[in-house]
Symmetry: C2
Amino acid sequence: MRSYDEYCSVAKALDVVGDRWTLLIVRELLLRGACRYTDLRHGLPGIASNLLADRLRDLEAAGIVAKEAAPPPVATTLFRLTPRGEQLDPVIDSLMRWGLPLMAEQRDTDAVRGHWLTGALQTLAPNEPLSAEVDDDGALRVAVGTDATVSGPARSVMGLLVGALELDDARAAGVTVAGDVAAVKRVVPKDGWPPTP
Amino acid sequence: MRSYDEYCSVAKALDVVGDRWTLLIVRELLLRGACRYTDLRHGLPGIASNLLADRLRDLEAAGIVAKEAAPPPVATTLFRLTPRGEQLDPVIDSLMRWGLPLMAEQRDTDAVRGHWLTGALQTLAPNEPLSAEVDDDGALRVAVGTDATVSGPARSVMGLLVGALELDDARAAGVTVAGDVAAVKRVVPKDGWPPTP
DNA sequence: CAGCATCCGCTTTGATACTG
DNA sequence: CAGTATCAAAGCGGATGCTG
């Protein structure tokens, strides 16, 4: 990316990580740990292969990502965040948090990956043991510890959990709640949050 | 910006604010409050005028910025963050924090604005009453309350304050400290921080 | 002057194909 | 598996012009 040429901390950060795709690569490495090139491609659907190669080179040159040889007998290359790269966690976290209300809208062109949703749910309720599972037709099952599970279309389940849908509306949109409904309500942000985008 | 088409909170956030210049416009509005178009241009040196107009339209459409008529007799337009826009503060803050170590390097093409530095210094030491002043030839004076002032070339002063320079090296690089040196040392991050970029 | 819109050359991106 | 190569299309930067 062309430099902003500003003696400003935000601009200098964006000089390094402001390119298209760059922060999503960091997201993948934060959520999944060390990845192979192929894993990254799977977690970044739509990225051009040459761009991924370019970005990884840039990130390596910036000291954010390091390549390492995987232990035998795997014989492949792994990409991993350096300590400096891991310090981008608050950046990814704040973006994830700010974007949560936008999850109430799902377009039919949107790719879905389970680890993205797990990440979002941990951000939503850091003190609840949430886990997400996606199956092939886009249905989502979220387990709230062993107390409850919420299942249904991803958009509706997330709509309920980010507070954009009331329980009744979510049920009308195909969501079923098994187990303790109160456990689910602990997860949903308090009224007034999230602010409508 | 073209959508990433991912059902992920980070990707959806970047669909909205990931365009070039967009987060720097938000930075300006967070640091300075409501701004005129001309003020924004001054705070974003190098931006093409059509791009600024485009971005402001996009941000308005996304509910992040609102236009308002300035009270008479000024008769101009003010651009201001909406509540949803103000919630980007943690995003800007985390980027600013991550970028702090990069302030140890200043290129001679870098534009300098006092409010950028004031913002960075507040992030560096939220509990210290720091204020920054820049004069025309790029010299910087930082006041640590009434206890001390640090002055010299911007890069050297910031290098000292972000911990990239020892006091002796900073002095050799043209920095002078007036008043209580201990007050300055309170500001500088503890040893081992910042990590070398 | 404030707030844009238009035009144009250049760079970056996206899509696809190909390779060690 | 881990990338390169190629090329059309989109985005960006810089200059300039227009309108109230």
